[in-house]
Symmetry: D2
Subunit: 139 residues, 4 copies
């Protein structure tokens, strides 16, 4: 399976008064990971949106192992955990610079028409994405 | 001139590692103030957007007088500082519960078509808004 | 079991280019729900932090059922799903104004010392919280 | 004068329903510019905070010239507009990939003790920063 890697510098704005990265901000980093894996696999999510297709999040499961602080750089590992032609489950691990695992997560996505929020089949509408996702998903 | 008041509870997510509200978040509170004054004057910004009109920010000037912390409630005072039928300048003062002035700000807005970002005349397209803005602006 | 209710107006800042609330922002609303239930049960999380105790999130599971848009008001229902004297699992349901279920979630929390991130026993250190949590948790 | 350059990829999370970057998010990018210029000049703001010194924003003036969208990369140019040993005014210009000017801004900062919010003299407490800021500021 293909694993994409994306470096993310902690922003001051992302910390909270606990002195560490606020937990909801890691969810945004997962999105940076998705943007990266889509790009690494040869596509651009922005192009899909130009066709009037959006890919909302259906659910997220995230576990926090270790806090991160301002001044650190994270690496988001992203892979295709499951894919069936309609739904995609991405898997994630976030590491700090000491290579400690700080976050594990999964998120599930469908593709829908922006105007109706009706699901589409990636397999039928984007056969090239489908092929590449099939080839690179976790076996 | 009409002054609108909007209470805002500090969210934990809005703090940073300095232990106080992160400065960019007050800019979001200004928007809550604008939403409130528009509603107090009898309109809904969401309705304007349904017509394909959006009102982007052209500039913001903001001064921070005193920090705010989680557990506190702010009151955003908002008024129409200037209005000429095309551009609106909103004025703001944010107070804490001890009535200390914590932020002063102004922001300038135009109304534009969402698809082209071309400016429209509020006076011509929304004569009722125009009338109410003229009557309630700072004289 | 006690269910706390907290109204949240959708902020323009919380939307994304999909035209709906950005998914990570609901995680912030869960926190507003927690702040409210703690207050409804007679405590203040801000006071706990003054003692040098913080309550980081250990994990979150969230499912998105229906999108919400700017101009709408959500109601966050929050309850104590599980509590064992050390860890607390909060349960959440978010509803829109038509009473449609838009989000379901759970989040798990421990209490730790801010300086060391070492866990403490709520039962031992905050016996009053412990008592109230025991009485109001899901049976 | 020294001009620091920092690339920033637009995050999906940073867009709003207008389809462009939400205006408050550029304020966060200014901070990325400051983090970069401090680092380019040989220092780390995170180290200053370890000494118990923080550098709150006193005011911000920002003008929006052109919207940016998801999929684009911005470059934040940051320089020391004014510096007098106590207060620093940073100047900023943000450009898109076509080298269009999208934002101009300034922000004013002091250094204060984290526990009291009392101002300190950078000149006296951090003579090396002082020297470098004097040498690299706009003349």
């Amino acid at each position: 399976m293909f694993i994409s890697k994306k470096e993310v510098q902690v922003r001051y704005a992302e910390t909270d008064q606990m002195g560490v990265v606020y937990h909801a901000n890691y969810i945004i980093w997962l999105e940076l990971g998705r943007t990266q894996i889509v790009e690494d696999l040869g596509f651009r999510y922005a192009d899909m949106e130009k066709d009037g297709i959006v890919s909302p999040v259906m659910d997220v499961q995230i576990s926090y192992k270790k806090p991160m602080t301002y001044g650190e750089t994270a690496t988001v590992h992203t892979w295709i955990e499951k894919y069936n032609g309609v739904k995609t489950v991405y898997g994630y691990e976030i590491y700090n610079e000491q290579n400690d695992l700080v976050v594990t997560a999964t998120s599930t996505h469908a593709c829908v028409r922006k105007d109706t929020f009706r699901p589409i089949s990636l397999k039928r509408e984007y056969p090239e994405w489908h092929k590449v996702y099939e080839e690179n998903k976790k076996q």
